[in-house]
Symmetry: C2
Subunit: 410 residues, 2 copies
């Protein structure tokens, strides 16, 4: 069997979308005894596997004929109600079940939103840097991607205002809580600022919130959705709260938007796994999610602290970072001339991987940045690996002694 | 909260895709005590719920940390191997695991294939009539859809040849076994004919095969994929063999096509439910799928026979149909002037639903056809409902007595 195919046959789209560099690294990681700061993987020992085993058994024995059958595209109604009521408790904003669409993870939500909004050449705005998987997903629909710098307190309001004046973006994609890749959280002032800028336009906010519950310090901040409900599409997921292998996420939006997304989801996969929806609903109603979240927060904040202490001990002062107050990532900035891709090449030889920051920019990648995940590595291994990395960084930073060649005088 | 949104914001695509009429009917069906011949639902009492309960429990207790974690986009390797080896046993054609991509049901496979091949205006060919969900899915990508008549023995070879001469379709979408909606199976001669016509072009065959295993009579016919492996993309699913609620299907193609589809799937949902993939793999390796298939075939063929007998008894001779040798559907043709939508309106009042055939045409719908599902209705209810329907049909066929108004002579 030959492995080449006439590429003239394929769509323009198929030629724009590239395989994720991160996932390619992760694949390599799976193959050997590598220490990985590369993924965005939750710690698997925290998965409530035994409780989910009981839930799965209960669902299949008591309600198997229903849970194994086709269901409606919107998702399992009791689960949609649970999600709506949890937002009401937490955000004090009434959300009806018909404002909830169950998706196959937030990634599918991004795909459906792209399908709903994007014709080729349409403008959209993303944070700089932003989640690579979102950029990949949007790229399938050939938009013009504009960027606003993500500062420590949130997206640059002046840049956002300027883009809204000079163009007509369909949406602004943002991760306000413990962003991937920077770990940054938008301040309350920034949230109000963003909402008021978008309110003056026809655009939507796509508020991706996978990490909001993984909060180590401080108070919960209001969602952008609570500030501008008519123009915000809020994405949530059980991937980081319970387990990603189930692929159960959701979209919160107006009933009109949900209805439109539902039609597109119907054409895309009919519905998300009915069994998984019922398993997770059984889990949520039989066990204590809030207690489970506490155990995640405790372990991840401990690992964040360990990574912080190790970087302080082993990394040179030229490496800058902000301390993330939640989520899964540190974002590192090295000296101006530093190339983290070179560091990765060297560290891979020592069995250590991470993601160079350049992969997180929609354009003009910055070469001296990196994303380090702290949720998925045991503390002993973390310290040992960061010690080795620190040595590599210091070595790379040593001024190169120029080898000067001498010519005989003419 | 208002429920209107400026439609100017949405993509052209979003305005082309309509909600499925069938799924809208099915939603109505779920709400009351209706007898439904409308869906394509498997009989839920045949779902191996207890065995799947044990599989789920085993997977989560023994291997939960892995099954609940993110995984690679291609799918769970042991499951891909199982699928590849089963084809080898059945079709005597070697298929490697890297030729298998796990998808969230065949519907997602159709979406990924559309993403891979279709730019707006690209030509594709479908059978006339064809699966509504496929037409809906393709419509998201604005192709020019051409049709070839599906005859009793397969697609009209002359029409297919003519389209291949006069246009450059990206693919020909076909369901060779017990097609949805007609229940027809392509003869062996028709399969060779199709393969040789496509072989002379750059086009692909998209061979959708959800019903091939639901065979009541006769031998297995070779897949189009076995006749033209380089240019055929074969879709399979566990939806009808095990259970649709799990949403586990697959694509068989060249490693090159699989790699391209994998990149698009990564951008679309990262991967299908890891848990469900492991549950179904545990089921397949602990229990006897072939025995289970026998029980499905026995029940469905019994119901097919019951529906056939009831139609012979209650329906007028004007109603024509072919006896399906497998699958889930009868395809009915009424008298030329008959409108099955009117029959549906009347039958809904009696609590009986089915799908008018007009929904299965990409263009120029034929109004006197209907699809009747026989897999999902108990035999007593089936007979009672078909008796009522027969009476309604006979009444509709009675010649209307013209009400003639008399005018006084001038």
């Amino acid at each position: 069997m030959t492995t080449t195919t006439n590429t003239g046959n394929f769509s323009g789209r198929a030629q724009q979308v590239q395989s994720s560099f991160i996932r390619d690294i992760l694949k390599a990681a799976g193959q050997s005894n590598i220490i990985s700061f590369a993924g965005g993987l939750p710690e698997p020992s925290l998965f409530p596997a035994q409780q989910l085993a009981k839930s799965a058994y209960r669902v299949l024995m008591n309600n198997g004929q229903e849970a194994l059958q086709y269901t409606n595209t919107e998702g399992y109604l009791p689960l949609r109600k649970f999600i709506a009521e949890r937002y009401l408790r937490q955000q004090k904003i009434p959300i009806e079940p018909e404002q909830v669409l169950i998706t196959s993870g937030s990634q599918q939500a991004l795909d459906l939103i792209s399908k709903l909004f994007l014709d080729p050449g349409d403008e959209i705005i993303v944070e700089r840097p932003s989640y690579l998987g979102a950029i990949q997903c949007f790229s399938q629909y050939s938009p013009l991607i504009q960027e606003v710098d993500l500062k420590e307190e949130g997206p640059d309001g002046n840049q956002l205002k300027e883009w809204m004046k000079t163009s007509s973006p369909k949406f602004f994609y943002t991760i306000p809580n413990y962003q991937n890749p920077t770990g940054r959280r938008h301040s309350i002032a920034s949230r109000h600022d963003t909402a008021s800028i978008i309110a003056e336009s026809d655009a939507f906010i796509i508020e991706d919130d996978p990490y909001g519950e993984i909060r180590f310090e401080g108070e919960t901040f209001p969602t952008l959705h609570s500030l501008l409900p008519e123009q915000t599409i809020l994405l949530g997921t059980f991937s980081k709260m319970v387990a990603p292998g189930l692929r159960i996420g959701w979209v919160i939006a107006t009933p009109d938007i949900i209805r439109r997304l539902t039609i597109l989801k119907q054409a895309s996969d009919l519905h998300s796994s009915h069994l998984d929806q019922q398993i997770i609903y059984d889990y949520l109603t039989h066990y204590d999610l809030e207690e489970h979240l506490q155990s995640i927060r405790m372990l991840y904040s401990k690992r964040r602290n360990t990574m912080l202490a190790a970087m302080r001990e082993y990394f040179p002062e030229s490496v800058k970072y902000q301390i993330p107050e939640g989520g899964m990532f540190f974002w590192l900035e090295f000296g101006k001339q530093f190339k983290t891709m070179e560091l990765l090449e060297k560290s891979m030889k020592e069995g250590i991987i991470f993601v160079p920051g350049e992969t997180f920019y929609a354009s003009n990648p910055v070469l001296n940045t990196a994303r380090f995940n702290f949720s998925n590595t045991e503390e002993d291994k973390m310290k040992a690996a960061l010690s080795k990395l620190g040595a590599l960084i210091k070595k790379m930073e040593q001024p190169q002694i120029a080898t000067v060649k001498w010519w005989p005088l003419p």
